[in-house]
């Protein structure tokens, strides 16, 4: 049995384990956690323990498929790659370079994300490249870049063990980032750290909290402004920190002046005294941190939410030290890396702007090409709209499943059906590949080398344990083949390491991160040179932008609120046992067994009014569509709120969600829309 040290392919926590494989290099036989890894420390969550199971599933895509006369038929690589390049070029000639879009993937490696953005920019001359960070943390990237100058988790996971106080807002940490959640839980139980949970749902952490704020969905800004109002009024702010390290404080003061506890309470539905209590607990702690996730980001005011979190930690001087900071927990294994490597429409790797002429000149030279586009490209969300309007003609999707993950699925289907040419590169057939003109079979994490970057900015090795099935190829090799066929010679590599060498050259924050240095334990960026030890805590003496910028936000309600016809707030998210669109977890026996049906959480009070019993089939409807699900009658949700997960194609929550976007980050409002629910007889 062979044991290969690699990084877990599920969430952004970045646990490492050994994949156990057979002597023939074709079957994964189990996992063994890494004992020395700083995050795993010999433990894993249930998804990690089962991360071996989907790899050898019979459904794996094994050869390319081309649609002929409406049917997907087996084809050769040669023919498939030629067809892709020919069609993309043809469409670009007819409709312009920006009529083509590339979806990169937070499930693939850093090297592959780098190549996807290089392919889009250097070869196809478009900045239309984006990935699912748009749907999860684009508001973080925008909000924290604005306030601090760097859009990533400020501290390390190990900092959780040093914090005196946690504000967990919009993160069901024990379920979505289990080995981070357990650190928070242990800190409370064993060290007596304070815990404020601000979440509408009664999550596991809430039972350990000093105070559980069940504010109305989408009122985070009002809550945070209310807390800051109290802190300033009671003189609990960190005056020295504000004076020395920040700017624009007066404006913050003016904005939060309008949020006395009574007003904040009215908007949030909380008791005024609870807001006061939370403000005091947070500001009186020596080392307090905010931990947040999609509950903060997935709103039409997601960027405002993020900025408000940043404002609160600056106001209380809780940044740049162990145990403090703004700690957005990234959802996908490599969503941090996909952003870092420039799979975004506005930046190259290392967040270097495409609109900056000097930066373009640098990349032109590095990539040995004459020109690069300088306009900001489409996002995942605006691309779907552009396709629906007929302005986007071709889409190349690598390892994403927008048919299930993007809001307002009927709209997505219309858009994808309207597109002239759809390429899907994936490891399994998906709801999106059903619509594809060409499908390319890719390798999964167990079958290739590369790196993932975890939520704490730690760049870690991914190692090949077994051979990929059938004719499938690694994503990076496929992208290189496409580039070559399109007439570009500057994208040929003999190994993933060679790609990282190039990343080191052009990406200042990754310059010092080489395969040799991260052989056992990864390094945290920024790591600007080969002797730099990495950066566990950002903004220690100085913010990345110099001074921290207080960026006050007014309260804006969600785009769609309940009314008479649609009286419930529908919020969506994930459950512990499944990951995103379920492509992998629903093909893992134990995980699939745990949650087998689409379900909707409803409060007993509402259920009783509607004569809905636990496990009854119900129809949930919004203005966008309706789906069937099984009722889960539970106090986890408040009266008036229902909650669904988006894992299930047979009851896809994203048929219901609203494609209303944050104006800056273009993130959809997955967390709030108006819905109705009825029992099926």
């Amino acid at each position: 049995m062979k044991k290969t040290l690699t990084t877990c392919p599920y969430c952004g926590t970045g646990c490492m384990f050994y994949l156990l494989s057979d002597e023939n290099n074709d079957k994964i036989l189990g996992v063994e956690p890494s004992r020395s890894h700083p995050v795993s420390q010999g433990s894993l969550c249930v998804k990690g323990w089962n991360a071996f199971d989907f790899v050898n599933h019979p459904d794996r895509l094994k050869f390319p498929l081309i649609r002929r006369n409406g049917n997907l038929e087996q084809a050769s690589w040669e023919e498939s790659l030629d067809l892709i390049v020919r069609n993309l070029k043809k469409i670009q000639e007819k409709y312009g370079n920006d009529s083509v879009m590339f979806f990169s993937s937070a499930k693939t490696t850093n090297e592959e994300n780098y190549l996807m953005m290089k392919l889009a920019r250097a070869v196809f001359k478009t900045n239309n490249v984006d990935h699912c960070a748009r749907l999860c943390h684009s508001s973080t990237v925008a909000g924290l870049a604005k306030t601090f100058g760097s859009g990533a988790m400020t501290n390390s996971i190990s900092c959780m063990e040093k914090s005196d106080c946690f504000l967990v807002i919009g993160s069901n940490t024990t379920e979505q980032h289990p080995l981070i959640g357990t650190r928070i839980m242990n800190s409370v139980i064993e060290r007596g750290a304070k815990l404020i949970v601000a979440d509408n749902r009664k999550i596991r952490l809430a039972s350990y909290s000093d105070i559980h704020l069940r504010h109305k969905n989408g009122t985070d800004v009002a809550l945070l402004n209310g807390m800051m109002h109290v802190i300033i009024k009671e003189g609990l702010e960190d005056k020295q920190f504000i004076a020395k390290r920040t700017e624009n404080y007066e404006e913050l003061k003016n904005t939060v002046e309008n949020f006395p506890p009574a007003i904040s309470a009215e908007i949030t539905g909380l008791k005024a005294e609870d807001i006061v209590k939370a403000a005091r607990i947070f500001s009186k702690a020596d080392r307090a941190m905010i931990v947040y996730s999609m509950g903060i980001t997935q709103h039409t005011h997601g960027v405002d939410n993020v900025k408000s979190c940043a404002n609160l930690v600056m106001l209380t001087g809780n940044i740049g030290r162990p145990g403090t900071g703004v700690n957005p927990l990234r959802g996908q294994n490599n969503v941090q890396g996909a952003c870092d490597l420039g799979a975004l429409p506005n930046v190259y790797s290392g967040y270097q702007k495409v609109t900056d002429e000097n930066i373009r000149a640098k990349f032109k030279k590095a990539w040995n090409i004459k020109d690069l586009p300088g306009n900001v490209g489409l996002t995942v969300t605006t691309a779907i709209n552009a396709a629906a309007e007929g302005n986007l003609k071709a889409l190349y999707v690598m390892g994403e499943n927008p048919m299930l993950s993007d809001p307002d699925q009927n709209h997505v289907r219309e858009a994808l059906e309207k597109i002239d040419f759809l390429v899907v590169q994936d490891i399994f057939p998906t709801q999106t590949s059903e619509l594809a003109d060409v499908i390319l079979p890719a390798s999964c994490f167990a079958e290739k080398n590369g790196t993932f970057t975890s939520t704490e900015r730690r760049v870690q090795r991914v190692r090949k344990a077994i051979e990929a099935p059938g004719e499938s190829r690694t994503d990076w090799k496929i992208l290189c083949d496409i580039a070559k066929r399109a007439g570009y010679d500057g994208m040929q590599y003999s190994s993933a390491k060679e790609i990282m060498d190039e990343i080191n050259e052009v990406t200042p924050s990754y310059s010092g991160i080489t395969y040799d240095r991260i052989d056992q334990i990864g390094l945290q960026w920024p790591c600007p040179d080969k002797s730099h030890p990495g950066t566990p805590i950002l903004h220690v003496d100085k913010f990345a932008r110099g001074l921290g910028l207080f960026s006050p936000a007014p309260y804006k309600p969600p785009a769609e609120l309940p009314d008479e016809e649609y009286p419930f707030v529908l919020s969506t998210g994930r459950c512990y046992f499944h990951f995103h669109t379920g492509t992998m977890t629903r093909r893992s026996k134990l995980l699939d067994r745990e949650e087998r049906f689409p379900y909707v959480e409803i409060n007993p009070e509402d259920a009783s009014h509607l004569k809905i019993h636990d496990r009854d089939y119900v129809m949930v409807a919004t203005r966008r569509g309706e789906i069937k699900a099984m009722a889960r009658v539970t106090n986890v949700v408040l009266p008036g709120v229902i909650f669904m997960t988006f894992h299930f194609s047979e009851g896809a929550a994203n048929v219901l969600t609203n494609n209303a976007l944050d104006p800056e980050a273009k993130i959809p409002e997955y967390k709030v829309c108006a819905a109705k629910i009825r029992r099926l007889s």
Partner: protein, 329 residues
């Protein structure tokens, strides 16, 4: 008795490879201690507890039970080409192995398990070779050979015929070594953990541990299932079929009683539907139900569930809490 140096043992293990599939404690890439081939990493006879259960050599996380081919031919896995020699069980692990041997052969004999287990040779390592030189209990049996570390060398103690045969081929510079002092040290090891375990067993059996306690512990459980997966006496598995274009492979993979789906009925009803009940079951089963069935508890205090649990509710922690809170003051 012979006493072997590390080098002599390493040479010996290498010579055994012609006859056996030899698995020894090694250091993996990042220093994690594990069982592997001698060529897979540096030999690590001494060190921290091997995190993975050592019984996984005979009962792995995933294995094929049978395959039905396209012509409906029924293929069962062959026994390994060479018998397995596994080195590095602790005394506690050896007790666990003895128990699962019994478990897998009572009422129904599990062929898949015994194809690997039959003809295998098991070495226990004990003495001054734990984490930071900590003394590991001497087994005194329940294996074929024991290697007892005296801080310098490993005294070789064969117990079975197979063990005697192997010992003959082990070339050592030291032919005469005494175990006496080491036995004394082993006998003097504290037994409080065992006392606590048995006391907790009684308290649970006497129904003196209230439901609220189990709910409280369960609230800390994130259902990672690690406690079950690293437990050498956990034997539950899930059965599933993979259909590769007409070829059906039936597999079994480790399962966990901490999952809702473990006991859930097809109707959706679950007699163990509450987390607290599942947490209670994990402990009750080993300390009470198994005591009734087998005449002894089936936790041998190997310590792995305490090491793997991210929220510190392994069996040692929970039984200690039970005794502290509900035991005789």
């Amino acid at each position: 008795m012979k006493a072997a140096t590390l080098k002599e043992l390493e040479n010996f293990f290498k010579t055994c490879e012609s006859e056996y599939d030899v698995l020894v404690p090694i250091e993996l890439h990042d220093g994690t201690r594990s069982l592997g081939k001698i060529t897979d990493g540096p030999l690590a006879l001494a060190g921290e507890l091997i995190p993975q259960k050592t019984t996984s050599i005979f009962f792995p996380q995933r294995e094929t039970m049978f395959t039905i081919g396209i012509d409906n031919n029924f293929i069962v896995p062959e026994p390994p080409e060479k018998p397995i020699m596994v080195v590095g069980l602790t005394a506690e692990d050896a007790e666990c192995l003895e128990f699962i041997d019994k478990f897998f052969s009572t009422d129904y004999r599990d062929d898949i398990y015994f194809k690997k287990r039959d003809n295998s040779v098991v070495f226990v390592i004990s003495g001054k070779c734990g984490k930071n030189g900590e003394f590991l209990k001497i087994s005194g049996g329940k294996c074929d050979i024991e290697l007892v570390c005296n801080g310098d060398k490993y005294i070789v103690v064969p117990y079975t015929e197979k063990g005697n045969e192997l010992e003959k081929h082990l070339i050592c510079s030291t032919e005469i070594a005494s175990l006496e002092a080491l036995h004394k040290e082993s006998d003097a090891l504290p037994t409080n953990e065992k006392d606590i375990l048995l006391e907790a067993s009684k308290l649970i059996a006497q129904d003196r541990v209230p439901e609220e306690f189990w709910d409280e512990i369960a609230n800390r459980c994130i259902a990672c299932t690690g406690c079950n997966l690293v437990c050498p006496t956990c034997t539950c598995f899930h059965v599933g079929d993979l259909n590769f274009e007409g070829i059906v492979v039936r597999e079994r993979i480790w399962d966990s009683c901490q999952l809702d789906g473990f006991m859930r009925e097809a109707s959706g009803h679950n007699p163990m539907g509450i987390e607290g009940q599942r947490t209670r079951r994990r402990i009750h089963h080993k300390l009470v139900a198994d005591l009734d069935r087998w005449g002894h508890v089936t936790c041998f205090l190997c310590g792995r569930c305490d090491e793997v649990c991210p929220t510190n509710i392994g069996i040692k922690s929970v039984t200690k809490e039970i005794v502290d809170r509900f035991g005789q003051k």
